[in-house]
């Protein structure tokens, strides 16, 4: 229970990642970073993580959505909690017909807007981890 939680950040903005990473490391989380969706997906498939922090607009476009969809279809990764952190200010949820953020991409996901207040970031991460753990406990 008190084991250090492993988090993965997939975001192509190195400055934002550096800020987020320092906040999370200080709160005793183990943080890995992938700066593009391809590396991110590979990391997810090779190493176990407790939570994913995912950006939406990366590379050619909204590739974060692609990752979230792939996770939703993957039976192993479906239960990984995901915190979507996006700088999108337009009302874009309409552009993902039938697959808006809610109903969820994966079992437990949440969305916050960039830039995130450090306190809120930590609260969200903690809440998502707790919810995922409670779900795991229920399914057992």
């Amino acid at each position: 229970m008190n084991q250090t939680k492993k988090l993965l950040i997939i975001d192509d903005d190195p400055d934002f990642v550096a800020g987020m990473k320092s906040i999370l490391v200080k709160a005793n989380y183990e943080v890995d970073v992938a700066y593009n969706p391809k590396d991110g997906l590979q990391a997810l498939q090779t190493k176990p993580y407790d939570l994913l922090l995912l950006d939406i607009m990366m590379g050619r476009g909204a590739e974060g959505i692609m990752i979230a969809r792939k996770l939703g279809k993957d039976p192993k990764l479906r239960n990984l909690p995901v915190l979507i952190i996006t700088g999108i200010r337009e009302q874009m949820a309409f552009l993902f017909p039938g697959q808006a953020v809610h109903p969820h991409f994966v079992a437990v996901d949440e969305l916050v807007e960039k830039p995130v207040e450090p306190k809120l970031l930590l609260e969200k991460v903690e809440a998502l981890l707790k919810t995922a753990e409670a779900r795991k406990g229920q399914s057992k």
Binding site: I65, L95, H102, K130, R135
Partner: protein, 204 residues
């Protein structure tokens, strides 16, 4: 005893968004804005008094009241309110707020918040209009007023509908309203480009 057990169950199984105070979430929407946080609001009511929509009686809760509701944690009532969908984005509230809160940005933030979570009030013109507009641009590359207008025309009463039809006819006679939807050249290229940027998802 039972009440305690119930609370502990909700504390562990509650969705993550319910564990965090609503005001914190909304504060984050304004984190990047140049204005002050909503906690600095003194409830003077300048925003509501200056708002052309609120004083017209269209909003169910005035902007001042919405801020008070957010600060008191009335999440459900705020999200189901029509206030931010009726906001005309005139920015009078932002300009006149004595505490320098960017209230218009708060209204935009609340729109995005509800759209991402599909938690907005049913039957409002705002979300339907936005959705039709965005999807139309994706499909044809241009907006086409006759289709856009009909998405919300039926929410009006008959007299308003006749009035709208009269206006549309006179606009059409003057050549200000196209009869056929405009399509851009090389539409397929445009669509392919958009699909590269935004993974729109499977066809409905």
């Amino acid at each position: 005893m039972n009440a305690t057990a119930e609370t502990s169950v909700t504390a562990t199984t509650a969705p993550p968004e319910d564990r965090i105070p609503f005001v914190e979430e909304i504060k984050n929407l304004l984190y990047a804005s140049k204005g002050n946080p909503i906690s600095t609001c003194i409830q003077c009511g300048t925003c509501s008094a200056t708002c052309p929509v609120a004083s017209g009686g269209f909003m169910d809760n005035s902007p001042r009241r919405i801020i008070a509701m957010i600060r008191s944690g009335f999440k459900e009532q705020v999200l189901k309110s029509n206030t931010f969908w009726y906001c005309a984005s005139c920015y009078q509230c932002t300009v006149r707020c004595p505490r320098g809160i960017d209230i218009a940005e708060l209204m935009y933030g609340l729109k995005r918040f509800t759209v991402w979570r599909t938690e907005h009030q049913e039957g409002l013109i705002g979300p339907t209009f936005s959705e039709t507009f965005v999807k139309m641009i994706m499909r044809t590359g241009r907006s086409y007023e006759p289709v856009l207008a009909t998405t919300y025309l039926f929410t009006y009463g008959l007299p308003e509908m006749i009035l709208e039809a009269q206006t549309a006819t006179s606009l059409m006679l003057k050549g200000r309203l196209p009869l056929l939807p405009a399509r851009i050249k090389r539409l397929e290229n445009f669509k392919r480009m958009i699909r590269h940027i935004i993974p729109i998802g499977d066809k409905e």
